[in-house]
């Protein structure tokens, strides 16, 4: 049977996190996590979360989590964003990288990497894109040369659009370890210390005015074998599990959009005359946020019942990224003349604009939907 209620334990879990957030969420928003001060403040917040057991609720207890299931994770996220709690500076590590470490890491790697990530001590940046490898991720050129003598690899090349890299401690990403290889063959998954000799990080200012991402230049950077994730040459397969997480369920829980939709209703109540011409449009985006929640419930049900989440995650990504943009766009319409002034809705809009671009552009995602879900033929390639 379909059952949209939650169990008594789950309701108790919801009350617990709701009460905790009501007491602990900072009254004033933290400074942007992409400034030096804001980064530290967000690290402290992660520590606070960690100490109360909220940093990584789905992880096993030995790594700092509560070992709860997907339902509880959804509940946590709904409450977290509804409470207006700070953005997660550790998000890349926790949501994109940790699933890969759990799946492919050794015990030693898990023990070394995960706890400081959960505590907010080590913040991870991603190292996927390169200047010639954006949508075409398999076109990677940054290379890894074997250093048998020291028992490791020497990395060189350039990574771009690395979120959080301006202030982060470590980077995960793919490098071409087989010099004769092409496309998705011969790649290896590395963990890189951003303080290592040979690493240069150049912060890049985004439209929202902060250095939300950076270029990372690697010049003969040594990485020991223990910082290789999985087998050498298997990087693509391993990474795909991570981008699956990025595009799929974990990065964008419905909680974020439900909270934004509710804030949009609040804005409309505050400014009824400005909102009047937009009420139907507001109802439409509010309904889309609800639909995203219900769709996620369906996905979670399927995952719990053992179905793999595959190319379906492309449906997810297109839906949430366009919903997020439209939610903020309508808020700016309600604001009218005021929309050009800096404020949370403008910030949110600028942030949302990145949604259809990163983690595989929506054009790529629609190709995936058409080719892998509908079975349409692949595009001709030159």
């Amino acid at each position: 049977m379909t059952d949209l209620s939650f169990s008594a334990q789950q309701d108790a879990f919801r009350r617990e996190i709701r009460d905790w957030l009501a007491r602990r969420v900072p009254r004033e928003p933290l400074p942007s996590m992409d400034t030096a001060d804001g980064f530290r403040a967000h690290q402290e917040w992660e520590r606070t979360l960690y100490e109360a057991g909220w940093a990584v609720v789905g992880w096993p207890e030995e790594y700092g989590g509560r070992g709860v299931g997907l339902d509880e994770w959804l509940i946590f996220e709904e409450e977290y964003w509804r409470a207006g709690a700070p953005g997660r500076v550790g998000q890349n590590g926790i949501f994109l990288f940790a699933p890969t470490v759990f799946a492919f890491g050794t015990d030693e790697q898990r023990a070394r990497v995960l706890p400081p990530m959960a505590r907010g001590e080590e913040v991870w940046a991603q190292g996927w894109s390169e200047p010639e490898a954006g949508s075409d991720l398999a076109n990677l050129r940054a290379r890894a040369v074997r250093d048998e003598a020291r028992g490791g690899w020497r990395l060189s090349g350039q990574k771009t659009w690395s979120s959080r890299a301006a202030h982060a401690h470590r980077l995960f990403g793919l490098f071409r370890s087989d010099p004769g290889s092409r496309r998705h063959h011969g790649l290896t998954y590395f963990m890189v210390d951003l303080a290592a000799p040979g690493v240069t990080v150049r912060p890049v200012r985004q439209l929202d005015g902060e250095a939300g991402f950076a270029e990372v230049f690697l010049d003969d950077v040594f990485v020991a074998d223990r910082d290789v994730l999985g087998e050498a040459g298997e990087g693509w397969r391993i990474a795909m599990s991570t981008t699956g997480s990025e595009r799929g369920l974990s990065l964008r829980s419905p909680g974020r959009f439900l909270a934004a939709a509710d804030r949009l209703l609040d804005l409309c109540r505050l400014r009824p005359e400005q909102a009047a011409p937009h009420r139907d449009a507001v109802a439409d985006v509010w309904m889309r946020a609800e639909a995203y929640r219900l769709y996620t419930y369906r996905t979670v049900t399927r995952m719990r019942e053992g179905k793999e989440s595959g190319p379906e995650s492309s449906l997810n990504k297109v839906f949430w990224s366009e919903l997020d943009l439209d939610l903020h766009d309508i808020a700016l319409r309600v604001l009218g003349a005021e929309a050009e002034r800096c404020g949370p809705w403008l910030d949110g809009y600028l942030f949302a604009l990145a949604g259809p671009i990163y983690a595989g552009t929506n054009e790529i995602q629609r190709n995936v939907i058409a080719e892998r879900l509908l079975g349409l033929p692949r595009e001709p390639r030159r």
Partner: protein, 383 residues
């Protein structure tokens, strides 16, 4: 929390799908209403889903636990956990939409809600459950998400000036054995033997007709509440039908796009076609859980049930509209011909998205709820 069809529900849908695959091919759809197919649908229990068991139905309506000892379950199979009424209905009407079924399956369920346990309705309910008779239903114009109320001025304005007032066109009334009418002042009547004047519509299988006023027998009075519930069930069932129709059009169009070669390669290789059909899939896949939730909310009487029903119809209208536009465009001129089968679904979608409350009306209901003085109805689950 669980939102997905159970194996029982899948079996339920599959039984219907197999019957329709055998008996409701496009050529059958073109032939229109078939008493044989209707009786066959009765045979698997599809026409009497919500009819109480004592009248030969499956008794899946609210108030029944679906486990009554005399319960005859879909396709004669005994289900351990049969879905409740609206949830069973959407599993069926999605298949009806997929097959473009001409018969008034949704109306049978709506009639069962209207007739409830009325002794005067017993014969009709028995006939419906057997698939021996068909019924058309006319409800007062209302906001389905708000329950019944005074007819808004816009409803009477929707009758063209050249036509007799109070005689809107009723779907399937051109051929149905019975027509149930809830009048504007809340009387449930069975229409009399007066003339039914056919009205041309975009979908010939809708059998639109105006039903003469007066005559007939009064079955109940002060029936507004039942009419409101019936309208909500109609909206939810129609939503599932539209989702099924959209999915059917999408499947056919994908096949066409794989095979149609222009400029030396299949048109389905090109991004304009791919992305358009991807958008149709997006709309269909995101509408489906919305419809499922509306059916669940209806069956469980959740506080948000009225809004959820309205939202389901909005999403289904949107998905089906996108599918109709997109699939026609991908087909090009051949899709524009009457003899090509796509047209069957196009007509169904155009008709059904206007019926049981169009998007304007349902969206207005959602908007009214969200901007209500005392705040929106609580969603399920607690937020």
């Amino acid at each position: 929390m669980r939102l997905a069809p159970t194996p029982e529900e899948q079996l339920f849908a599959r039984t219907a799908r197999e019957l329709l695959a055998a008996r409701c091919a496009p050529a059958d759809v073109r032939a229109g209403f078939s008493p044989d197919r209707w009786r066959a649908l009765g045979g698997i229990g599809a026409t009497g889903l919500l009819v109480p068991e004592e009248y030969g139905g499956l008794g899946l309506g609210p108030g029944s636990d679906g486990h009554g000892p005399g319960g005859q379950h879909l396709g004669g199979q005994r289900l351990d956990e049969p879905p409740l009424g609206a949830q069973a209905l959407v599993a069926l009407t999605e298949e009806a939409g997929r097959a473009c079924l001409p018969e008034p399956l949704l109306e049978a369920a709506v009639a069962a809600v209207l007739l409830g346990g009325l002794p005067k309705g017993a014969d009709l309910l028995r006939g419906l459950a057997e698939g021996a008779v068909t019924v058309a239903v006319s409800l007062p114009a209302q906001d389905p998400a708000r329950g019944p109320g005074p007819v808004p001025a816009s409803a009477s304005a929707s009758v063209p000036a050249s036509e007799p007032a109070g005689q809107p066109a009723v779907a399937h009334a051109a051929y149905a054995d019975h027509v149930l009418v809830v009048t504007e002042d809340g009387e449930l009547r069975e229409a009399g033997a007066g003339p039914r004047t056919p009205v041309a519509g975009v979908d010939p299988n809708r059998g639109l007709a105006r039903v003469a006023d007066g005559g007939g027998r009064v079955l109940a009075r002060e029936w507004e509440a039942a009419a409101g519930k019936a309208a909500r069930l109609g909206a939810i069932g129609a939503a599932a039908d539209l989702v099924g129709a959209a999915a059917a059009m999408l499947e056919r169009t994908v096949e066409y796009a794989k095979g149609r070669v222009q400029f030396g390669s299949p048109i389905g290789e090109r991004q304009a076609v791919k992305h358009r059909l991807a958008d149709v899939l997006l709309a269909v896949e995101f509408a489906r859980p919305v419809v499922a939730r509306a059916a669940y909310a209806y069956d469980h009487g959740l506080p948000s049930a009225a809004r959820d029903a309205a939202m389901a119809k909005v999403f289904a209208n949107e998905a089906a509209g996108k599918a109709a536009r997109g699939c026609l465009q991908v087909h090009g001129a051949i899709g524009y011909t009457d003899e090509y089968d796509l047209s069957l679904w196009l007509r169904r979608v155009w008709a059904l998205s206007a019926a049981w409350g169009d998007s304007t009306r349902h969206r207005a209901a959602v908007t009214a709820d969200l901007f209500a003085q005392d705040g929106p109805s609580p969603s399920c689950p607690s937020r």
